[in-house]
């Protein structure tokens, strides 16, 4: 479903990761681990197509849904309207079931500006369901969720995997998912100004 080979990643001209290779099969979740600043987010942005890798290839058969640190919610719109917008952009399923999955039905008409941090995060995660994409790429999805909602997220993610989906995510919580962990510590590039940055900027 996703094949990453010999990938090298940089951020702001500094090489972060070197020669990373992995593959993710349907039904599997790959959890990326590593210290702060090691390049987890940059790697995920490469997979999501927001950033060009220095070298290496990313190939996949599925459209990718990306969830960043910021949830990208519009405070002036209601919870339901926020989901509806993304559902229409992706041509995905009806937002009602996504609301139910994250226990947001009662908040459906509330404007997103009046949600708590945890509720906003749940809405951001519900967005992944309405994209209808097979591969979820998630950057720290469990931040600002309490234990109960982490369990909820785990149930949704497990259901997604069981229906043939896959996920690549970074998290510090052990979610006990089917799949594997990838510790990025072994792939740290020597911290130096990347010579490819100039070529990268020209592209």
């Amino acid at each position: 479903m996703l094949q990453v080979s010999n990938l090298s990643v940089a951020r702001g001209g500094i090489s972060l990761l070197h020669d990373v290779s992995f593959s993710v099969q349907p039904g599997q979740a790959l959890v990326l681990r590593g210290a702060n600043g090691i390049g987890k987010t940059s790697l995920l942005r490469c997979i999501a197509g927001l950033q060009q890798p220095i070298s290496g290839t990313i190939s996949g058969s599925e459209t990718v849904a990306y969830a960043a640190h910021a949830d990208g919610l519009k405070g002036q719109l209601s919870v339901l309207e926020n989901l509806k917008f993304w559902s229409e952009v992706y041509g995905g399923p009806d937002p009602k079931s996504a609301l139910a999955a994250y226990d947001l039905q009662e908040l459906a008409q509330r404007s997103a500006a009046n949600l708590s941090a945890g509720q906003k995060r749940r809405l951001g995660l519900a967005r992944m369901l309405v994209t209808g994409c097979g591969l979820w790429v998630m950057d720290e999805p469990t931040v600002s969720l309490d234990a109960q909602n982490v369990a909820l997220f785990r149930i949704v993610l497990q259901a997604h995997l069981q229906s043939g989906g896959a996920a690549v995510l970074t998290t510090h919580i052990d979610l006990d998912l089917s799949g594997e962990n990838l510790d990025l510590t072994g792939y740290i590039a020597t911290a130096q100004r990347s010579s490819s940055t100039f070529e990268e900027a020209l592209e």
């Binding site: 849904a65 990306y66 960043a68 990208g72 519009k74 002036q76 719109l77 952009v89």
Partner: protein, 218 residues
Amino acid sequence: MIQLFMRDIGLAVRSGGGFGLALIFFLIVVVLIPFALGPDQSALALVAPGVLWLGALLACLLSLDRIFGLDYEDGSLDLLASSPLPLESVYLAKAAAHWFTTGLPLALAAPLLGVLLNLRFDAGMALCFSLLLGTPALSLIGAFGATLTLGIKRGGLLLSLLVLPLYVPTLIFGAQAVRSASLGQPFDVPLVLILAISLGAAAILPFASGAALRINLR
């Protein structure tokens, strides 16, 4: 693309600053001109075409940095960039929403404000037409400028400096159309030229803006 256009219009209406702000700014500028130039009606009629076009142009400038700035700050631009929607369509939808919430109301209100500056009725109609054809170019060029200054702190001023020189051809032909109409001369040539600028901008700038967005989101 239509969804994004509708969402941006909805956001502009609900946050208040969209429809109203540019229009009120335009009104104030036009009302201030007689105070500055004095009550001489023939002098006002002489400067009216230029002043009205300049006022509309500056009013358009006000909300340019919000076109992409808000989405960039709350992270939804990243999410849009990773969605199946091409960035060129994102640019077109956002520029169209900007025109609908600023350019279109300005064009419709301008003939009424022209009365304040002693503009003849037929010249008022020429003003309306020239703004209808010219404000799309203002929105398209402005949104292109907004993609270039994305992520720069206090990029609003830089955006104005970048965009204003690019507005010059539209301003020249726009004001010329109104001036010709107020003298009772034909004004179809400047109108066609304004339309050409708008169509040219719509054809070329989506690609330039898509590339600028891709570099700035990296």
